[in-house]
Every structure is written in C-alpha cells, then in structure tokens.
Amino acid sequence: MEYEVVIGLEIHVELATETKIFCDCTTAFGGEVNTHCCPICTGMPGTLPVMNEKVVEYAIRAGIALNCEIAHFSKMDRKNYFYPDLPKAYQVSQFDLPLCKNGYVDIEVDGKIKRIGITRIHMEEDAGKLIHDQWGTGSLIDYNRCGVPLIEIVSEPDIRSAEEAKAYVEKVRSIIQYIGASDCKMQEGSLRADVNLSVRPIGQEKFGTRTEMKNLNSFKSILRAAEHEQRRQISEIEHGNIIVQETRRWDDTKGKSYSMRSKEEAHDYRYFPEPDLVPIELTDEQISKIRKELPELPEDRVNKYINDYQLPEYDAKLLTVSKNISDFFEQAVTSGANPKKASNYIMGDLMKLMNQYDDEAIPFDGDKLAKLISLVEAGTISQNIASKVLSMMYETRKDPAAIVKEENLAVVNDESALSEMIENIIAQHTKSVNDYLGGNTKAIGFLIGQVMQKSKGKGNPQMISRLLEEKLNKLK
C-alpha cells in the first residue's frame, strides 16, 4: 500500500529581548548557573510577573511577517504542572486567545511553491534546566533560562514530507531572523521544533494516529527524525500493529526514536487565565505602527538583488535563505565587491565551509570578502589561491592581505623563475610537447597546469601561457 505522511510542526523561538519576559534579568546565553535570576523568575512567594512590552512587540512582528491576524484582545494563561525546572509549578503561556492566528508561509521544495498554514503564534516563558550532578546523587537545577521569552509557532498539518518539514522550518527561521525577533541559533537552543507526524493510506481523508517528537534542534535532526518516524509508523501498520499516540524522544546519534510516555497518562494542564497579568489590548494604530517599522523580509531582498544587483534569481534566493548570509553579502557589496563575484564566493567556497564546520554564520565580516575580491581583481593573487586564502580566513579570521603576505601567496611575476620551471616541464613531458607540436593545441592546457602546480598555484597564469607558447613555438 502507498502511504502519505502528514506533519504538523510546533516551533519554539527564543525572542531576542535583552531581559526576561516578566523581570529585569538578562537573557544572555551561558553564564554561571543561577546567576541570571531573581525572586520573580524563580517564582518566590509573593512575587508577580510584569509583561515585557518588547516581547509582545516581537511576537507581533513574527505574526505580521508570517501573515497572521493580530488579536486586538488576548491574554496570558497558566499551564499547571509539576516539574522541578518549573519553579512556580505553572508556565505562563497563552491558551484560548493567542496573540496571532491564521497565518501562512510559502515554502519551495523541488522548484514548487507550497503554502503551509500557521494555526497560531503565542507567547510563553521558558523553564529552567536540570543538571545531573557530578556525584550522581540527584539532579541540580539551573534557573537561568526560567522566564526567557519564547514564542510558539504552530503549523497546520499541511506538511507532506520530511523535506517539506525542513524547508518550512528553514523558511520560518529565516523570516524570524530577518525581523530581528530572534537570532534563531539552533545550537544554543533558541530555535527548536516539535514534529507531530502521522501516516495514512493515500486517498484516505481521516488522519492517522500521530506521535510527537520534541525539542529537535537542527535541520538535520528534523529531517532524519521525520524520515525515520514515517518509516517506523508504516512498518508498524504493515505488521498489523496500531500506532499509539505518544511522545517519542529522538536520539540523533543513534538515529532512532524512543517512546517516552503515552498521551493517555499525559497531564491535565488545568489552564486558566493568569490573574496576575492584565489582558493584552492592542489598537489598530499600535499594530500598524509595528507593521510599518517591520524590517526587510527575505522577499524584499530577493527583489533588490535581482533588480539592483542584477543577480540571477537562483543566486538571489539562495543568498537570502539565511539572514546571516544575506547580511554578509550586503556588507561585501557595500564595501565595494562586485555582487556577482561576491555571490559566487558565498554560494561556492563559503557555503561549503559553513557546511563543513556546521556553522550558522560566517565567522568574519563581509568587508573582508570585498578585500579578497579586490586582491584577485588587482592580480595580486590568482583565482585558485583566492579559495585557499578564503578557507584560511574562515579558520583564522585574519585579513586576506595579511594571509597572502604571511603565507607568501602573491602571484609570481618573475619571468626568469617561471621560464626555468617551464623548461623543466617541457623536458619532462615530451609526449604532450609532441602532441602540441603535432597540431593538438589542447595539449598546452595540460602543460600550463603542470607549471601552475610547480609554482604552487602562484604563477601569473597569463605570463605562464605566454612564455610556454613562445618556448614551444621555438621547438617547431
């Protein structure tokens, strides 16, 4: 039987506010345990929350950028459950009146555009972190994350493949980065996704029973977890088993998921309106002010790159997937780089390096790429050497000119040194020389390559080919 997979995603994004959602504590990542907290975020008796207005503003920005309706009236609710990382024993979240709802985002998979519905976006506070102590006698709690503001973006079950899931998260992440609501650093956990997945025979309208995999924090794990869970469910069904509605834990190193607890015994969260906070009431003016001040979205930049920088659509789209890359590109261009050349370096060498190091951003600024390009344009280094310099820049963050100098990578323009190399190569490769002399002019390419290699890539290519031709013609 043919099956279809149905996926819905919940994306948790940590907002880029400087302070927490209900107190003045910093949201900075890292820090000694339990140093970024106060009586309010640790839920001391008698303390009260006060809404950080920036949180509401960022959440509205996200709602607008993801094409949602922004509620004129919404409120916070308490989600009650006991867990040691939750000092009040309830999480302040939003239940029936979220700030944003009914949005969508368009994704592109295999050249096809697909619209994914967004059910709602709501605000909530993060919990602390359990640390298993080094003596193994129990768990310790770090409250630094408690009260860090989050938004949860809930999609409709519109996603039909693991690739679409990945593309959706990429798109949402990129938009959130563009509007400045979050840095979305997945490695630091500021963006994580829960994957709700079910399968059903193609043609069947009713959804299958779904499972949920929580806290996936890389594109790779989202993709792999979804693929794996899809296969697992199909195999269960084909073996005559039924799918249990449950939460599963994805182990990315083992490439497997494990059952955690079934929903039947899940909590009754006893949501009710948070009486310590006043409802959030917004006027049309307030919402449209935020709409007007919304930073440039990826689509805006794509258009700018095509129209102002004359980049091909392919380049424009690829460069704008991530705000980090797009910002880098713009820095390079502002610093004088030719847009197409900058684009080529980014899409080629730099993206390869980012992949290799699993980085979310390029570790140096775009003006350094502009400098590198100008070194090539001036003939100081060759195209090949430029790639080498780029990877050294990536590792050391040094200035390209400094690297060229330190590593002695400047083009060799010394005619006598090159002539000597050429004579040696001619002597060693008699077959190619004869081929050339016999009329096969293509053979010269090979010989140029050999000289280039001999010069460790630093020989001035124009000079090499001129000298080589002169010497070969003398042999005729």
Binding site: G43, G46, A89, D268, F272, D276
Partner: protein, 482 residues
C-alpha cells in the same frame, strides 16, 4: 491611642519614638501570652529604627503622619531576610530575599514594624484557628475567635499591641475580624495597594488593607500604602492624594442602599438589631437609606469558593519541597517528595481548597464550575454597578454573627464558609468596603457595620463611616477590650 493622637505627641516631642516602641513591646509582653496575635517580633530592628526615626523627627525631615508610629503586619507580607510564614508549617522557616512593596512604603513613611501577625494558614479561614502555630484569641473574650484570616491583625489593634496593622482580604479577611474585634478594617478597591510581596492566596481577589482604631487612621494608612507599583501590573494608575479628603464634608446628599438579602435569613437577631440601629442613626443625620435587592448575593459564596480555590490551587503549587519551605525527609523519588512535602507541610483547610480548586479547573469540569463562576462574577459586578447608579454606598452587616467560641465551627467548613456571605461579593466585584464597630451583643461582643462603595470611591465610604463614628458611642471602643 490613635495614629492622629500619637503623631501630635511625637511631633511636639512629648514622647520619643524609642519610648513609644518600648511601651508597645511591654504591652505585647504583658498581653500577647493570652492573645497570641504575634507570630514573630523584630525588637532589635525596631529599636534601632526608632533611634533613626527620632533623628528624622528631631531634624524635622521627611515627616509623615505615620512617622514613628509602631505597627505590625500580617505574616503573609514579605519582609526581607526575616520570617514570613503565612501561618503555615510549609513556610515556617522561610525568609524572603526581598521586601513587599507595602513593607517598603511603610518603611519610608517612617513607621516602625514591631512584628508579624498570626493568620489562618495562607489566609484560608475565618477564625485564625487554621494557623499552624497558634490560635489567636479575641481580646473581648479569650474563649472566642478573633475572626480571620487576619485575626492576628485585628486582635493586635483591639488589644492595642500596635497602633495599626495591615491585613489582607480575599473574601472578608480584613473586615470580618475587624468586626469580631471591634476595630476598623478597610478593604480597598482591588488594585489600590500593590500585591507585590503579598504571598498569594487568590490573585484576582487578594487585597491588602489597614486595620485601625478609627476611620481617620484607616485613611492615613491608605495614604501611605496605596498607589501604582511597577511590580504589580494589576495595581491601579489612579492617584488619590488624600483618602481622608471627604471626611468632614457635608453628608446630607448621600444616599445609602440596604440589601434586603443581607438582613434576611442566617443573620443573628442581635446583629440585625445593631445594624437596624445604625441605619436609624444614619437616617437621623438626614441620610436617605433605602432597601434594595442584591439577588445574586446567594450565588456569591459558591462563585467565590470556586474562583478563590482554583487560583489557590495554582498559586500554592510552587510549595513542592524543592526550592524553599518544608521539605519532607521521607521520599525515594520525585513524586513522593512532592506528595509527602505537601501532605506534611499543608494543613487540612489548605488541602481542602487545593483539592476543590484542582477539581474545578480539571478538564471536563472547567466549564461547569470555573467558567460558570466567572460568569456569575460578571453578573454580580453588574448588579453592584446598577445599585451605585442611584446610591453612594451599600450598608449592612459585616458578618452574620459576632465572634464565636474557639472550636465551635472548626469541624464544619461549610458553616464557616457561610460566615463570609456578606463579604465575598465585595471581593468578587473588586469593590472597596469598610467594617466599623456599631454595637455590642448581649455577650458584650462587638458587631461590625459594613459600608461598601463604588470602585475607587474609598473617600466616600470613609466619609460615610466617619459620620457614623462621630455620632456613635463606639468611638475608641478599644479601651473596653481586655
């Protein structure tokens, strides 16, 4: 003596702050072994502050009507680095790392904190019998309860072991003990005094307020404690410079409503007589008093117990034996740690409310209970609003009876809950109300008259209360307390 009188003596240097504070500690020493109003005293700090405050008076610097006045607060308001127990074993050794906003405000007014007062555990109860530590006695009759949950605060003022105190009122917890102890108790409009640092019972109903010997004093304490607080988003922006502004204004145009339902069944005959006398006094002053219907009063108790218990079940969930407070030694896993810490740390009444509230919020019951209760809340508000279109205040009894015997009702929670019948709807509607003494029953126990006002109309109810106080013979009632 009242705040007003003592203020005069302090300013004229007839008495020094240290002497005054010392006198109060002597009184406490003499009386509190019988009354048991205090949970803890902070004598060292108070004596130290007395010297500093005297200095302020000598230099005539930053003097307020409360400067140098000895006072005490209910033990559910956080005092930095000193015990705040909420009358519970759960918080027996809890020392908050911060001060409640009211504590800061009282400190800057120059008043002197003598100690912290007994209460029903987490403010749940009407007799102060639910304290985990001691039973406070009514100064008028030591075999009787002082009311609750701010029983310590009311008994303390009645026995003059502090010039004034602060209590908290979620369903009558300031007014009812004030009524039982023959003192003045004011529950301001919800949002008037910051709740920051008041250990929450039911967040949408809790309100701090003064317990004093006179109406004027209540206004003075309100002046010092009210106001917008950036740490409490539910605190009101309204800025009222002097709550006593109307005290001496002409009262002739005032119209009062008397809800028929407040004088119908359930009220003791003697309390009813006192209230009817009070109404009579008002009429003699030329004030119009008319009977009205407050039909939803019957539903107020049910709505109140659902809303307050629901919020309490969530507010009290943080006491889990992990971060602070009582920690059971008897556990092998996390769930047991939770269960045993909470079972051993909370008293029976608190557990009853947590269970009631948890049930009311559970899926499948939410609509039938919690949601219904919120709807009733809106209807009750509307009913009050309607009355206030015509009347300036509503008067009636504070409680259906006078102080009862210790142990008399503690076995029957439902009967205890019915004692809140005249007070809870005020919290549900977020209104201000004051209880003032208006007579004695045949056991020489005080009766309280409740005056309810429009939201943020404290000045008017203080005016109405003051007018009665001036006419009646119950002024300075406290002298008669043992």
């Amino acid at each position: 003596m009242t705040i007003e009188q003592l203020h005069g003596k302090l300013i004229s240097k007839e008495i020094k702050v240290e002497e005054l504070v010392h006198q109060y500690y002597e009184k406490i020493e003499a009386k509190d072994k019988d009354i048991s109003a205090y949970i803890s005293l902070c004598k060292d700090n108070a004596m130290k502050n007395a010297v500093l405050i005297q200095e302020r008076i000598n230099q005539n610097k930053d003097i307020t009507p409360l400067t140098g006045i000895p006072m005490a607060i209910k033990d559910n308001m956080c005092t930095k680095d000193s015990k705040t127990t909420c009358g519970s074993k759960m918080l027996e050794n809890f020392e908050p790392p911060y001060n409640a906003t009211v504590v800061e405000k009282l400190e800057s007014s120059g008043s002197i904190l003598l100690g912290k007062l007994n209460m029903d555990e987490f403010a749940m109860g009407g007799s102060t019998e639910n304290s985990a530590f001691k039973k406070t006695k009514n100064p008028y009759d030591l075999s009787r309860v002082p009311g609750g949950s701010s029983g310590g605060s009311a008994a303390c003022v009645a026995a003059d072991m502090a010039v004034f105190t602060l209590g908290s009122d979620t369903g009558g917890s300031i007014r009812q003990p004030a009524s039982f102890c023959g003192v003045v108790g004011l529950k301001p409009t919800y949002g008037t005094i910051s709740r920051y640092g008041l250990v929450a019972f039911a967040s949408s109903l809790d309100q701090i307020g003064p317990i004093t010997k006179t109406v004027t004093d209540a206004g003075l304490v309100l002046n010092a404690t009210a106001g917008k607080d950036k740490y409490d988003s539910t605190s009101s922006e309204r800025n009222i410079a002097d709550y006593n502004e109307y005290l001496k204004k002409d009262i002739k145009n005032i119209k009062l409503a008397v809800p028929r339902q407040y004088l119908a069944s359930g009220i003791s005959a003697e309390v009813k007589d006192s209230i009817l006398n009070a109404i009579n006094e008002y009429e003699k002053m030329g004030i119009v008093c008319e009977y009205v219907d407050l039909k939803l009063a019957d539903y107020a108790i049910a709505a109140y117990y659902i809303i307050s218990s629901a919020e309490a079940s969530s507010n009290l969930a943080r006491y889990d034996g992990i971060k602070y407070g009582y920690h059971s030694e008897n556990y092998t896993n996390l769930i047991e740690l939770y269960k045993n810490s909470r079972s051993e740390g909370f008293g029976a009444e608190v557990k009853r409310r947590i269970m009631l509230g948890t049930y009311a919020l559970s899926s499948g019951y939410y609509d039938a209970y919690y949601k219904k209760a919120l709807q009733v809340r809106t209807l009750i508000k509307n009913e009050f609003d309607k009355i206030f279109e015509t009347y300036d205040g509503i008067i009636g009894p504070t409680a259906p009876t006078t102080a009862y015997k210790i142990g008399e009702k503690s076995e029957d929670p439902l009967e205890m809950y019915l004692g809140d019948v005249y007070t809870v709807s005020v919290n549900i509607a977020g209104l201000p109300a004051i209880s003032i003494p208006c007579g004695f029953d045949s056991h020489h126990l005080p009766v309280g008259l409740q005056i309810i006002g429009k939201a943020f109309d404290e000045r008017k109810i203080l005016q109405i209360a003051y007018a009665y106080e001036q006419q009646s013979s119950f002024q300075g009632l406290i002298k008669e307390a043992k």
